[in-house]
């Protein structure tokens, strides 16, 4: 879903990171379960969620 957001909006970048290969990042963002999404360093979503919830979290993070 993150990739879809990036395709339709040029301001959005979407990075998928394989947790086990980048332990430092996983520790930085406290990744204890996957998938976990970090939005602009100020929002997070744990688990695979429906599009509407992913969108709400993104807008919340963007506007905060």
């Amino acid at each position: 879903m993150a990739y879809s957001f990036a395709i339709v909006n040029d301001n959005i970048t979407a990075e998928v990171i394989e947790t086990q290969e980048f332990i430092n990042l996983s520790e930085k963002y406290k990744i204890y379960s996957v998938p976990k999404t970090i939005m602009n360093d100020n929002g997070e979503v744990v688990g695979a969620v429906p599009e509407s919830i992913f969108l709400n979290k993104a807008m919340e993070s963007y506007n905060s």
Binding site: Y3, A6, I7, D10, V16, I17, P35, M59, Y62
Partner: protein, 143 residues
């Protein structure tokens, strides 16, 4: 060495020939040191790229090709970028795309090629409010 089974290759070939519209570039960054799965990652994606004339494959060295690293703002290796012929959509995959993540890469190739996100109208209209850089990082495991 073929990593994909004959069956999977045949399936993807058909899928790409039916679903791909515009050309897609797969840009890959490797490094010689401290890259756990660079070789395997390259093997997988070159195989995927070989399944369609609409997919091109470009490889850079993270330590040597500084300009490309800067241009694509690549942070670590292995890095895979799924881009349009003339457009970088900001899609990055860091690590080896195994298991479920392999499917995400295939979906990204199809979506970029069709310039669509397969999102609802509501999502599309809300996302228009994002007018400043916004970064999404999704942490996954290769299961």
């Amino acid at each position: 060495m073929a990593l994909l089974s004959e069956e999977d290759s045949a399936y993807l070939k058909k899928e790409f020939s039916e679903k791909l519209k515009e050309n897609v570039k797969i840009i890959f960054f490797k490094s010689e040191d401290a890259c756990m799965y660079c070789k395997e990652t390259k093997d997988i994606i070159t195989e995927v790229a070989s399944l369609s004339d609409k997919i091109s494959f470009i490889e850079y060295d993270f330590d040597e090709d500084k300009e490309a690293v800067k241009k694509y703002a690549v942070k670590r290796t292995p890095a895979i970028i799924i881009a349009g012929e003339d457009k970088d959509y900001g899609i990055r995959f860091y690590g080896i795309p195994a298991g479920h993540e392999f499917t995400s890469i295939i979906t990204a190739i199809k979506n970029v090629s069709n310039k669509t996100g397969n999102l609802t109208e509501n999502t599309l209209s809300k996302l228009k409010e994002i007018t400043k850089p916004f970064n999404i990082q999704v942490f996954v495991t290769p299961t």
